[in-house]
């Protein structure tokens, strides 16, 4: 799809529907979205667009149903979703596709169930036998990433290490499923993943990609991983790591460097009922300057930040889920 012509943009009179409208118009004829406007459809931007549009508009319409159809068509036989058409599966995109389809439908369906099973049976590689043998052989002085590798979440892709963001996405998705639809391993995986996030928190608050201490040097937290880790841990608002993370995020709220960091911070602070401020003008200023580098996920995050709190980020209970 072609880019939105400048004369059709209305960034000087911001309305809460500007970003959702942008998403709607960027949908490809096949029902999906590309990472950037006009590129071929892929899983992650399609899932974010569904989640953002649902948060604004309620019940699914034709735009959403055609997007869900696109997701159904692209699911692999194993139940995962590929990062791009015909490419290898990704844990993070499978989690987001499951979440989007589960929220879009009245109730979870086969595709979600198969995706969830695939995720719960996919373990990161750092805990496997080869890894443990290598760790045993390694001299203590050679180990310079100090973290508990028995605490495993999810990698971005199978057969790699656990990282903060994909772990948080899977946790949020599983938290939204009612217990009867969670695979038997889900509870154990959620517990391990939660402990992994606490283990990977940076000193002084926040998270980075997943290395809080390398060669004794504390890692610098980043807004994206911090926001997603906090959202995955939203059921534990009194935990010290959560409180520290929120404190770090609030410090960086005043001087946002990008639309993604502003939108994700806003979303996170709203979920934790922390004070926020109107950010619509700031987001539109960013859009006027760079068009968000034409990134579909960033447009979707801006939509989510400006809309009502989506129910998949609302309070959930381990007993009931949300859906």
């Amino acid at each position: 799809m072609a880019r939105i012509p400048p004369q059709e943009r209305d960034i000087h009179t911001p309305q809460s529907s500007f970003f959702p409208d942008l998403l709607r118009r960027a949908q490809n004829p096949d029902g999906g979205w590309g990472y950037r406007q006009g590129l071929q459809s892929t899983t992650e931007p399609t899932a974010w667009s569904i989640l953002a549009l649902l948060a604004h508009e309620g019940p699914p319409d034709k735009v959403i149903s055609s997007a869900c159809d696109w997701l159904r068509r692209t699911q692999t036989d194993e139940g995962a979703w590929p990062t791009s058409s015909g490419k290898d599966p990704g844990c993070w995109v499978t989690a987001l596709a499951c979440l989007a389809m589960a929220i879009a439908a009245e109730g979870p369906e086969g595709a979600v169930s198969r995706g969830t099973k695939w995720l719960c049976s996919t373990w990161p590689a750092e805990g496997n036998l080869l890894w443990r043998l290598r760790q045993l052989r390694q001299e203590k002085s050679e180990i310079f990433v100090h973290q508990d590798h028995s605490l495993r979440g999810w990698g971005w892709t199978p057969n790699t290490a656990s990282w903060v963001e994909p772990t948080a996405y899977v946790m949020i998705m599983l938290q939204n499923l009612p217990p009867q639809l969670r695979p038997p391993e889900a509870s154990r995986r959620l517990q391990l993943a939660e402990r992994m996030l606490y283990d990977r928190a940076c000193r002084g608050g926040g998270w980075n990609a997943g290395n809080p201490l390398v060669y004794g040097v504390p890692g610098v937290p980043r807004i994206g991983p911090t926001a997603w880790a906090l959202l995955a841990l939203r059921q534990h608002p009194e935990h010290s790591a959560v409180l520290e993370g929120l404190g770090w995020l609030e410090e960086h709220y005043q001087n946002p460097r990008s639309p993604a960091s502003l939108a994700l911070t806003q979303l996170c602070l709203k979920v934790f009922s922390r004070p926020t401020r109107p950010i619509e003008d700031a987001l539109c200023d960013f859009y006027g300057g760079s068009e968000f580098l034409r990134s579909t996920p960033v447009v979707a995050w801006a939509s989510l930040a400006l809309g009502e709190l989506p129910r998949w980020l609302g309070p959930s209970s381990p007993e009931k889920g949300v859906i």
Partner: protein, 304 residues
Amino acid sequence: MSYSNTRLVPPFHRSPSSVAIRAVASYEAGVEAVLWETLQELGPPVRDKSVLLKPNFVEPDVEGTINTHPVVIRAAREAFLRLGAKTVIVAEGPGHERDTEAILEVLRLSDYVGPLDRSFVDLNTDEVSQVSPRTHASKLKSLCLPKTVLAADFVVSMPKMKTHHWVGVTLALKNMFGIIPGNCYGWPKNVLHWAGLSQSILDINSTIRPDFAIVDGIVGMEGNGPIQGAPKACGVLVAGSDPVSVDATCARIMGLRPERIDYLRRASLLLGNIEEARIEQLGETIGATCKPFEMVPAFQELRA
């Protein structure tokens, strides 16, 4: 197009390489003039070609020691245009931070290269093609590569001169990790670590061998690089059309033995010259510019 023209040449068939070392005291000390003079001397064949500058952008960094400095990027862009390039774009897929715009904002890149929608491509969100690597040193059976990179006529690797706590140093060859898109591999691109870092560097560079390299060593990073190290004022720009010999020269300036750097030694078998005798040094000498970099304990043995 680079992919079909990949050069895998064993040492006994290879011509000597030329590498220029230029002393530049600071980013305010006439980088444009120095780089223009250097490129005129080296004469990269860019007339009527689409040039892709691949800097090293890792994280938003207000100190200016992690990422390739935008002054160097602007100077390269203007010099290639003056040499007759049809187009020059900046393209990068940061490996740690998926918020590319935050990095560009801290760098104020648009102040140096103009509006980002025309001058910059985020390789992490590009469309990809799956290609078979030209070598199979790593466990990677195929590579997803951005179409923007595959379509470029002339690829220029523009790293920062830094140490690296996993592979020793990160220079022109390691910088090519940034063309591997996060939308296929995640942030960080952890698949490459599990497939073998040194081996992946070889496979990526054998498939998309940079046509030219310009290393920003005006202020580099020593110690626990590539993110958490200390600034190192080295005061050089290093450039040439053979990325292996450019990296080997940089290693010598950093006080290291290039043949002890695993991925450089591997790359020297097929991709370029590593021996000092096969590198014609232009400009400054290694001896005059050498400023030994601090290394983490695991890489002390790289020291000359």
